[in-house]
Point group: C2
Chain length 331, copies 2
């Protein structure tokens, strides 16, 4: 390994001077600068980031902790975070909690132990304890996707209530009577979306039917099972609203098995647009969260906070929009 010492002796200067040249600091004569540069070039010297980090008590790494990288929504988030981070000279450690608070804690711990510059987190439901700990550690934090009202934290979320209301109202307007809702059970997001769902029903003068609402793990399989269950009811739903695209896949499978026609016999709409939603027959109505923007905004805010830790916390709520396709509009 080529160290700064090697460069120094090769260039006939001190390590301090080499350090100055590398960091592009002033107070170095052009002649010396060139000599050092030549030595750097010739030896193929690269500064050791670990040593820099130990010295500076801070790394150039951001931690991105998400609940399920399989979920297309988080794929977009991670892409955005990576892009934005690299634009600003940071790298990203991506961590997948599987909605498991223990894993989340473990990763938070790891980020701390690694002197990570900052963390972007989509917390599990029971994470509030951790916030206090992180805030106490003074490690910059931005929370995405899920709302944290009671802490002084940068928070970037979708307007879940608004979008869930929009999708439910859309069903109502298209004459659907028994609208079922499948919501994630592992985050506050599901709760907010449920509220939007209820609010839309109320505005439409409908009664909320408890037997049509399920809080479940946001996975394909659980969506499939819940839908199969719903469709077996004496009075089955005539529309299903799912809280993410994984659930939608499962519901689609169940509907196909039952040979029900969409949107005639049953309507379908979901949170999150995906590549296949517009390709299936019929194409699927969705509300599209601005995932990329969320990731980008969170990263930008986090980096600003890293540079100015005393910056006051901000809440950003991004709207998103409804994309009406075939699955929710009766012919």
């Amino acid at each position: 390994m080529v160290t700064i010492k090697d460069v120094a002796s090769a260039a006939g200067v001190s390590t301090a001077t080499v350090s100055r040249v590398i960091a592009d600091k002033p107070h170095v004569s052009d002649a010396v600068r060139e000599k050092v540069m030549a030595a750097v070039e010739q030896l193929g010297y690269r500064p050791n980031l670990v040593a820099q980090n130990l010295r500076a008590q801070q790394s150039k790494i951001l931690g991105l902790i998400v609940s399920d990288i399989q979920n297309p929504f988080f794929r977009h988030i991670s892409r955005a975070v990576e892009d934005t981070a690299h634009e600003n000279g940071y790298s990203v450690i991506l961590c997948n909690t599987d909605e498991n608070p223990d894993k989340e804690k473990m990763y938070l711990q790891l980020m701390q132990d690694q002197n990570t510059a900052g963390i972007i987190l989509s917390p599990t439901k029971r994470a509030s304890r951790e916030f206090e700990r992180i805030l106490k550690l003074n490690i910059p934090l931005a929370v995405i996707d899920r709302r944290v009202a009671d802490f002084d934290i940068d928070n970037i979320v979708t307007d879940n209530l608004f979008l869930a209301e929009k999708i439910t109202s859309h069903f109502c307007e298209n004459g659907y009577q028994r609208i079922a809702g499948l919501f994630g059970d592992s985050s506050t997001t599901g709760i907010e979306r449920h509220q939007g769902y209820l609010s839309a029903l109320k505005k439409a003068g409908r009664n909320a039917l408890k037997e049509l609402v399920r809080f479940i793990a946001p996975r394909e399989l659980t969506g499939y099972e819940a839908a199969r269950d719903l469709l077996e009811l004496a009075q089955p739903p005539d529309a299903i609203f799912t809280s993410n695209s994984l659930l939608a896949v499962g519901v689609l499978l169940a509907i196909k098995e039952k040979n029900l026609s969409i949107p005639g016999q049953i309507g379908l709409a979901t949170f999150d647009d995906t590549s296949w939603a517009k390709l299936v027959t019929p194409s699927i109505t969705v509300v599209d969260q601005p995932a990329y923007e969320i990731g980008q905004t969170a990263t930008e805010m986090l980096i600003k906070r890293i540079k100015d830790p005393s910056r006051s916390a901000r809440k950003v709520i991004l709207k998103g929009h409804l994309i009406v396709r075939q699955s929710s509009v009766r012919p």
Copy 2:
């Protein structure tokens, strides 16, 4: 920040003793051990990984460098690598090169500068130069997805030739005459799959038709454009084989726009199974690469190499299998 020094003075011992206790080394009396543990507990001490790494000249981080995290294949890989790494006490930095050799080089550089314990890489086509450099640096490396015959490197790949042959033969057996092929242009993978495609045609006594073969960027949009182009030919193909699931999405779009019926007017089959392939109408025939296994195997091999750098290099070729669905079988 609580350091080892704080613990030492709190316990009334030296830092060396604390270090021994933390690392579970022998030659510490039970009494002292307990005293130290108590202090650790009481102060909430956590060893600083950065300092450990500087000292040990090695971190517990693996770098995973893939060409496109949007590609479901790499999503499975990354899940597998993460899982396996954490089982073995390692963390993972995920990096996305976008098939860009410059980005790849940048990340490789970063991994080196960070003292990363090892790297799992799906190289871009022009990466061979880099291999030599990495090997020279003695940083353990496992290459996945793409074959590297001419270097002494751990290499875990799918049997692309075999699978491409299988899918093409399947088309032939089902009476398709003009079988088009869309291959990625940014890796050796596309080349191998093209060879399998040719080989199957030959075995079936067919002529290869050059105008039906395209080497393109493996993305949805390019797949869409290429398919639209193919379908405009005076003699269009009656089947299309795509080299990954992103391309398949684009092709599906183009076929739908043309209002062609699958599998009657045109057959379709692709590399990589996805959640939607079995849901669309008709469901899509695929060859499923053992993505999770590839990631898992690569990680296990990498960790073995980290522990024993003199271990001889291995090539592992995993087969995968054909899943026949509706899109390639005429009624």
